[in-house]
């Protein structure tokens, strides 16, 4: 009885804290939004000083989604390849130590990735950008004539490297849990190793893969300091990957919070609420997909 009461109290405490945070955020955000002289959702700039504050989340939301999507596009194929290699191709001992290294990569603080991207990775990306522009300059996304360096490309690649270990270690776990019966059955039917993976391992792990990708996306959307250090911080909506550009909700908050006045802080908190809503939608979508797939997998 006592234990039950304590457990219930502890459980509801979490809800109370979340509710308190949400109330606090909304209370801080509403006065700021009401003073906004532009549309909070469609305006691209962020000018919170002065008599007529104008700010909107359009450019930051766009940047958040774009860098997140690009990072996943780059990271997921590589991550799945590594995971399959570790679970089915590599020698047991090699796989264990490699898996450990991957997990270690996940434990590197994001600020380290950010500083590395800003100070070291910056140069190869600058040269790579030049090459991309010279070779594929006819594509609008590579059309920028420079200056190159801190761009959506740099931010997305750094982000991809950060997402990589999450997707890798989760999907590796999933692949390893494929029932040996399924795999042996496929092999017994005469399939090659690759055919076995395609017919037995991947279908079984589909839900897990989607879940791991969504978790990676969650990390990408909320990533703050690495992007604050590697994006160009330009409030525009375009698909120019190479020129100085890109800003995300989280990087905008990180870069502006210290110098913001009271209205500016309210505005940043309001943009945080938008990020909250986006991640909520992403998580719910992921749950829905995983839930539907699970039934399918369970019957298989």
């Amino acid at each position: 009885m006592l234990f039950r009461g304590t457990a219930t109290a502890a459980g509801s405490m979490v809800l109370v804290i979340i509710a308190a945070i949400a109330v606090f955020l909304v209370v801080k955000a509403i006065p700021a939004i009401s003073k906004d002289t532009e549309n909070f959702f469609t305006f691209k700039g962020w000018f919170t000083e002065g008599e007529n504050p104008q700010f909107g989340v359009a450019a930051t939301v766009f940047g958040t989604v774009l860098t997140g999507a690009l990072a996943l596009l780059l990271a997921v194929p590589v991550a799945l390849g590594i995971a399959l290699c570790l679970s089915h191709y590599a020698h047991r001992r090699v796989a264990t130590s490699l898996g450990f290294v991957i997990d270690l990569l996940a434990a590197v603080p994001s600020v380290v990735f950010g500083l590395w991207g800003r100070d070291y990775f910056y140069e190869p990306i600058t040269n790579f950008s030049k090459w991309l522009h010279d070779t594929f300059g006819w594509l609008p996304i590579f059309g920028s004539e420079g200056p190159y360096g801190k761009s959506i490309l740099l931010g997305s690649i750094v982000l991809a490297i950060m997402v990589l270990p999450i997707v890798t270690s989760l999907s590796r776990e999933v692949f390893m849990q494929t029932p040996p019966e399924n795999q042996e059955a496929a092999l017994a039917l005469g399939s090659t190793k690759w055919e076995m993976i395609r017919t037995a391992v991947i279908p079984y792990g589909k839900a897990g893969i989607i879940a791991s990708v969504m978790l990676g996306l969650g990390r990408a959307l909320g990533e703050t300091i690495a992007l604050a250090l590697t994006l160009g911080g330009v409030y525009a909506i375009n698909f120019d990957f190479l020129g100085p550009g890109g800003v995300t909700i989280a990087s905008n908050i990180a870069n502006r919070f210290g110098e913001a006045n009271e209205l500016g802080r309210g505005a940043l908190i309001a943009s945080g609420l938008v990020l909250f809503a986006i991640t909520l939608v992403v998580n719910m979508a992921a749950r829905a997909i995983v839930y539907r797939r699970r039934e399918f997998v369970g019957s298989a």
């Binding site: 979340i18 945070i21 700039g45 962020w46 000018f47 919170t48 000083e49 002065g50 600020v111 800003r118 100070d119 910056y122 600058t126 004539e145 420079g146 200056p147 360096g149 801190k150 969650g218 959307l221 909320g222 990533e223 703050t224 300091i225 604050a228 160009g232 911080g233 330009v234 409030y235 525009a236 100085p244 800003v247 989280a250 908050i253 990180a254 870069n255 502006r256 919070f257 210290g258 110098e259 913001a260 006045n261 009271e262 500016g264 945080g272 990020l275 909250f276 991640t279 909520l280 998580n283």
Partner: protein, 372 residues
Amino acid sequence: MNFKRHGILAGIAITATLALTACGSDNNETPGTTGSNGGSAPASTINCAKGSLTAQGSSAQKNAMDEWIKAYQQKCTDAKIDYQGTGSGAGITAFSGGTADFAGSDSALKDGDESTKATARCGGNPALNLPMVTGPIAIAYNLDGVKDLQLKPETLAKIFSGAIAKWDDAAIKADNPSATLPSTPINAIHRQESSGTTENFTGYLDKAAAGTWTLGKDKVWKGTGGQAEKGSDGVAGAIKKAPGTIGYVEWSFAKVNSLATAKIYNGAGEYTALTGAAAGKTVAGAKITGTGDDLKLSIDYATKEAGAYPIILVTYEIVCSKGTPADKLELLKGFLGYTVSAEGQAQLDKLGYAPLPESVQTKVAASVKNLA
């Protein structure tokens, strides 16, 4: 979702720490000098008091504050002063909220909400803006093979508004007839967050390049092109790293990173290199626009003074005219009395700031004496 929230907070905390450490790292170069200064001037003007002060605000004056605090605490071992470069906005908020004993700010308190809250914090007494640190803003650039870049304010305005995109543009050529300019894109770097440096730089462009510069004077950057960096160290670092860049940054940061700085065409009709003396000439022409003990300064960016470097920044200490708790008051007066003294101001030159003109020094010192 819980994780997300923590992520944001942690991110902010990390940035704050970063900003602090970034500011702090610049001061490591001069401890020896300070020590010897303190030692060689035993008959100094420092009035010691006991107690502790917490202050925060402008990161532009952080280097100066660190130097002053070090010198003051060396002399007065019972005093403990802490200044954090959290940013002017954060400093004013902390001051009004009562968590900072004084605030450093890149701009004077604004009439309206900001002043009302500060007055309320001081128990109904007005808060004062005391100019303490002035510093030149350098136009730092990184361009292979080009030394002694010279720029007119109109050209500067065009570069930063994006009207000029390449280094070999006719306008830049006209300012630099003898230089060989490459045909590479200009990467104009500005501050991402709201900043007193931006406010003073755009204020300068607004005055000196009126007509060409249409974005007005503002703390936040209103231009659309270019690249944004957080903090003075961010701007200086980006310029140092990439050829083809140009940006505005406090002189101390340009010095620490050994960046080339452009000569600026002043109101007297000459290209002036950035030196402490040249910036001092503009500071000397600044006028006090505050009333009574409040010493808000107004800078004449279009100064006609020969040899003056026109782009400068003034930062203030914001204190209560009356209503500072008794246990803090003596230390506050002692410390600010030292920072405004000739001895305190003399520390500034080597850090990349300019000392206050003597006439202003006297007035600030009088205001500090009147604090109660």
